[in-house]
Symmetry: C2
Subunit: 457 residues, 2 copies
């Protein structure tokens, strides 16, 4: 028997599904500023690097084995690998690899990692159906605009109640992007997003397991499938996003519709995308940044008597592990992050390998780092003082860490990150060619140059 009760249903939402479908289907190609366009290229580059970096990870191997059980057809490539699988499986697996190291992009206002769902779906579809680079970047900007605006509308309630917002908003964003790439009209685009609206993916309880990176992968595949279904005439509610028992009101008690409609077509959420310089949680980044700066001032580990670190209480609450036993534990150790920054000037995946974490000199330097809580210091900042053996002190205060909105990574730093991820998988020459293909994608006839570089046969 149908029940009719629902807590605080909003029956007067604007026609969000139609508004977004119109935006996605009709916004002009390259209809944004140079800054937006450049941020889209940076997003694409960073996503490709992250996916190549984890291409050999157990999560990717397991997902590939499962997809091969379906006798998946060789339609599309896997970044950093030689195998080819069907478009849906490629979207799934590239989405998994791009998020496996937790090193991908972040839309800070919502903590969405926006590229994974959208770019993974687009690359697979564009390769198999031969869409141009210009079409891909258009679809990337618009698809990410959809997921992040829906995220803005629901955050924080939706995240607080347990949803991994990357995968829950990602299905709709990926569907929108694929609809744009396929050239669907407004009505079919609305259907594509509507079908995807029934497929939010991801709970936060999965953090720390392979199912976390499954979320962007699964939503990439769900979005791609939804767009193909819509193209074939499959129908969904034309109010699937905004209706009282549609997606948004079902998965969130907060729904601020103006976050979706305000400045639509003028402000693009991809503008606010950021990229992690270090392969750990953002809360540790200011401390690592400060230690990297100390090293840049010429301070070597053997000169150091003690490092005094002052941080907000949240930093030690989340990453206060003093003596991490392996790479995974080290990700939750601000002490280890500082040691890596002082020793090698970076904290990439290599610095979270077990071998590096347990090296005698790493352990010794980590022991010299002393952290104290000072809640006058913002969560996004760190205050670090090096006490040297000669009795001198060197002080560094980081207000906004590298990689934040206020202090973004430079293009050169993004390329360096790409190399640190990709060189060990495909070699430095291929990595360099892949970087060039990413910067040039919008002028390219397709993704062939990128895939030739990124997928050794």
């Amino acid at each position: 028997m149908a029940r009719n009760t629902q807590v605080s249903a909003d029956h007067n939402a604007p026609p969000i599904t139609d508004i977004l479908a119109r935006h996605v289907a009709t916004h002009p190609s390259r209809g944004w500023s140079d800054a937006v366009e450049h941020e889209a290229l940076r997003t694409w580059l960073n996503w490709v690097g992250c996916a190549i970096g984890a291409a050999g990870h157990d999560s990717v191997q397991a997902a590939l084995a499962a997809m091969q059980a379906f006798d998946s057809a060789p339609q599309a490539s896997l970044l950093g690998r030689s195998e080819r699988v069907d478009m849906g499986a490629a979207a799934l697996i590239n989405g998994i690899s791009s998020h496996t190291f937790d090193f991908d992009d972040t839309h800070l206002k919502t903590i969405i990692h926006p590229a994974g769902p959208v770019a993974s779906a687009l690359l697979a579809l564009a390769e198999h159906r031969h869409f141009s680079g210009r079409q891909i970047i258009d679809a990337l900007v618009l698809g990410i605009d959809v997921s992040c605006r829906i995220g803005n509308c629901m955050y924080p309630d939706h995240y607080d109640r347990g949803w991994h917002i990357t995968g829950s908003t990602g299905s709709v964003g990926a569907a929108a992007a694929c609809a744009r790439l396929l050239g669907l009209d407004v009505q079919q685009t609305a259907m594509a997003m509507g079908i995807a609206a029934s497929q939010p993916i991801g709970m936060r309880e999965q953090f720390g397991t392979m199912t976390k990176p499954f979320h962007p992968g699964g939503s990439a595949r769900a979005g791609l499938t939804s767009a193909l279904l819509a193209q074939s005439g499959f129908t969904a509610s034309a109010k699937a996003l905004e209706a009282p028992r549609g997606f948004i009101q079902t998965v969130s008690t907060k729904h601020d519709w103006s976050e979706i409609t305000d400045e639509l077509g003028e402000r693009f959420e991809i503008s606010f995308n950021t990229y992690k310089p270090f392969a750990c949680g953002i809360v540790v980044h200011p401390s690592i940044d400060a230690c990297v700066q100390l090293r840049a001032k010429g301070i070597a580990p053997d000169q150091i008597e003690r490092i005094d670190l002052k941080v907000h209480s949240l930093v030690l609450e989340l990453t206060g592990k003093k003596t991490p036993a392996d790479g995974l534990q080290a990700k939750f150790s601000v002490y280890h992050g500082c040691a890596a920054g002082l020793m090698v000037g970076r904290a990439g995946e290599d610095e979270y390998e077990d071998a590096f974490v347990t090296r005698a000199d790493t352990v010794a330097l980590r022991a010299k780092v002393h952290a104290v809580v000072d809640d006058r210091i913002d969560e996004a900042s760190a205050d670090v003082t090096a006490h040297l053996k000669d009795g001198s002190q060197v002080h560094v205060f980081v207000e906004h860490a590298i990689g934040s909105m206020q202090n973004p990574m430079s293009d050169a730093q993004l390329e360096g990150k790409f190399h640190s991820l990709a060189d060990g998988v495909i070699g430095a020459d291929r990595a360099q060619a892949a970087i060039a293909a990413c910067w040039g994608v919008a002028q390219a006839p397709g993704v062939q140059a990128l895939l030739q570089a990124a997928c050794p046969r």
Copy 2:
């Protein structure tokens, strides 16, 4: 930055994921009463008939076209059709067709349609991997036990807030069933259910569109994929179902864990499955049943002066359409249901075809049905009086309609329903052979006999 607030989180849930995984992986084959076993066969039969019946529907055509875009490999069959697609696509499409007419089974306590997600996944996997009928029925009973127990735990809050509970619980149930079929151990079964727990599918806003039947289909595919991922070593949280930010607490504020754990292995939820005798919402069934009984008493349409119908207010609220213009509108007309019952003694898909709905004699008889609200009558009952042209009256009161728990359809009636759905698609002889194959599935080496009958080449 990770947030730590969640409304009313329960940190003391029993280890539900582990408890259910142990149940699914270790319960003995055929470890239940004859009554449970027989209900499983009835569930299987009814599901096959529904799937064959809608095999030619636009929803199925569109879904098949989308799956063919992936160059899907011919691993598994589509009921009522000749094409073969990969296991995941077959699970999706058979799940869609089985729910397209809204004519499938119902677990009344939760309004879950339990067979769609579970049986669709099992048939595809069993065909390709050659599992026996005994293994299929074991997995069907246990998979449905998982979805319906999770449904019991969350209902009604979960449904009220907008979830189509069939698809949201179906992913986990289908994963459990496929894990059982694959012979996964307790640990891998927990992983399979855990991966599926991140993929609840379906919002009620989609009712009336093709995305409604997509929900059981999508959850069938999600469950099957999750089991194959787990078999390949993919990991999920071992508390994915019950943790504060796991599946159940994220999608429902109500979580009564005892609904999952009580009498586990003794009481099987498939015992409470019911089958619709009429191709419309359950709220109309008592009125149709009463009119079918009037016809059985020898009353013909041309004898009728007027039909007086007394029903609960909810009946007219949901199905009060007096003059339906087409088949879809007729599904929301108790008047039409009564006319069909009086005219032909049934209300199957044929009686909801536009041609039947708009026939002059149908329209004329429908106009003679007068309904009044009487809230002393239960929602599950109907009071009908036929006023005949000769001045006499015939009264029928239906307390529990045919198809309810209290008044279940007989096996012969289920076979009649099967024929009414399948004969027009595959012919009566094949339908009869398919019925025989369904009743005998538990003794069969596999599903070949069923598929030879149900899938014309």
